[in-house]
Symmetry: C2
């Protein structure tokens, strides 16, 4: 049995606030050949996701926390170098929970194929991957917007938000993004085709919402939580639906964050806030992927990936880019050659 | 045309915090005979509802605010003294938005009959009226509990909460109330048949929920908002549903109340909070009333009314009882003889 050299990034301590270098350690080791039903994958791209911050915390959540000393959980895209399963051959590209490591021994049943001819490989971690699916189900199932309604999206230049607004447009809605900075807003408006994008760093969000949502807000797809959510609550319509997808603004909070003080608006407007996780829609992935890939092929859906070329050692610095809003599009760390 | 003497309580100023005597004024006047489609009603019982506090505020809500100088809005029960509509005869008892006044000229189409033989008259403002319907739709439609699930109810000794828990029991759920004081808790547990009731004034609500909801919380029917909501959020299960019916704890707040800081729990648990108003279910009132009256007749549903005998002038003092938790059961002010 051949042993393959591997390097793994493990969680060394539970971060307090923004993760520090000392919260991780890199360990060299070896990985063996795949057994029956397994494949050995050389990891090329690692997906950096806001949710990773939650996985590092103790406490009950939708997945168990990463244990101290365990390889950091991550979605990744890689190439099969050895296969013990008929579904994948050497050379195939696959997406799955590779973890933050250079080589990953994985169950074939947990992997999905990535088709290089269909789209750039990193987009299988973006618009054609989990972020795209998250956008799809959160918007269409939780918000269920009707043509003519106004959909507001925070994190609009992000991997999820960008897709949400484009699907909203495809469904005949008014799409209004919220993003940080003029460059991101220009991209959201001019390239992704949102009706408007409000730069929350430039001024008064409430005034921006008032201007760009003259008929109020029917749906809000929330990726950020915090004060943005609180401000949106002031401007929602009767029967508004808020898909609560993420709260990146408070994931690194070192003291309990304030709650949305305008929550009474839910009562006055008979509105709902609903948290969701893409994994709950697993049985409907095939249809969603077909829709997303179809729209992409027709040029109706655009994605943008922000690829950082580096090594395993750059994981922390790259992750922090997310929380500081320094990425522009789906953030991936490239640690190998495609 | 005969003129009938009337006294009306009008909103004189928008209250800041708890309403004061000077926020109202009583005006004597006259009311004429009913025209076509109208009935003249002698008001007997006035319903005191937490929502009244919101109606006194300016700002957008589910109904327009009561204007300064306008008769205070109220549900009431009275007897028809003159009728211009075939649906109601002199002597009939009716329920409707009478306002806080002794005589009310109302559209017959906006009234529902109260049947003295079926139940004590005040219960048509309680368990067989809006509070009962609110409990019915909020629990069955918004929470939609399944047999075996745990339903937590705040304001459990109140007009709405008491009915919610009893319906939850009828549907095979575990019903856990939250109420203020040992006497109310004993009533909720021993008379209404909840599985448990936590006295929030007596100690640690979180510990109480932990003890009495060993399998977590699947549904929460919230009448109070504030810290109670925040504490419940810590103990909800995956796919929990929160029916947001009221927030009596903050209706009289004189500065912006804190929001629920544990709102991230909605995300981790893919849970929802949904505001609702009973009026949105109007087309289904007949079925609901039939169910409620049926359960009541079979002895499966108990209500309790807290009748304050007084006059129009006692409106403010009686209303304040609600916000200080001094009522025990559905609070009504009796201003006339049945």
């Amino acid at each position: 049995m051949t042993a393959h050299a591997n390097r793994q990034l493990k969680l060394a301590a539970r971060p307090f606030g923004l993760p520090k270098d000392s919260d991780f350690e890199i360990v060299a080791g070896e990985v063996g050949e795949p057994g029956e039903g397994e494949v050995l994958v050389r990891v090329i791209y690692l997906s950096l996701d806001p949710a990773m911050r939650g996985w590092m915390n103790e406490g009950k959540s939708y997945v168990r926390p990463v244990r101290i000393g365990e390889v950091m959980r991550a979605l990744g895209l890689g190439q099969v170098v050895a296969s013990g399963d008929a579904r994948f051959a050497v050379g195939d590209y696959v997406v799955g929970l590779t973890g933050v490591q250079e080589m990953a021994l994985l169950q074939a049943k947990d992997l999905t194929p990535a088709i290089p001819k269909a789209a750039p490989l990193p987009s299988f971690l973006g618009g054609l991957g989990m972020p795209g699916l998250t956008a799809y189900f959160g918007l269409l199932d939780i918000c269920a917007p009707k043509p003519g309604e106004t959909v507001v999206i925070s994190g609009a230049a992000g991997a999820v938000g960008g897709v949400v607004g484009q699907i909203a447009k495809l469904k005949g809605c008014r799409a209004v993004g919220i993003a940080g900075g003029a460059e991101k807003c220009a991209y959201v408006r001019d390239e992704l085709g949102f009706d408007a994008c409000i730069d929350y760093k430039a001024g008064d969000l409430n005034a921006g919402l008032k201007e760009h949502c003259p008929d109020g807000i029917d749906c809000y797809f929330d990726n950020v939580g915090g004060e943005t959510l609180d401000t949106v609550l002031r401007r929602i319509n009767v029967f508004a639906r808020i898909a609560f997808c993420g709260a990146i603004s408070i994931y690194n909070a070192t003291e309990p964050p304030a709650g949305p003080k305008n929550y009474l608006s839910l009562l006055a407007n008979r509105a709902k806030v609903q948290g969701f996780i893409v994994f709950d829609f697993q049985d409907r992935y095939p249809q969603a992927i077909q829709d997303l890939a179809g729209w992409y092929a027709e040029g109706k859906l655009k994605f943008r990936e922000h690829v950082v070329e580096g090594r395993l050692d750059d994981f922390r610095d790259t992750l922090v880019m997310l929380f500081e809003g320094r990425n522009f599009g789906k953030l991936v760390l490239q640690i190998g050659q495609p």
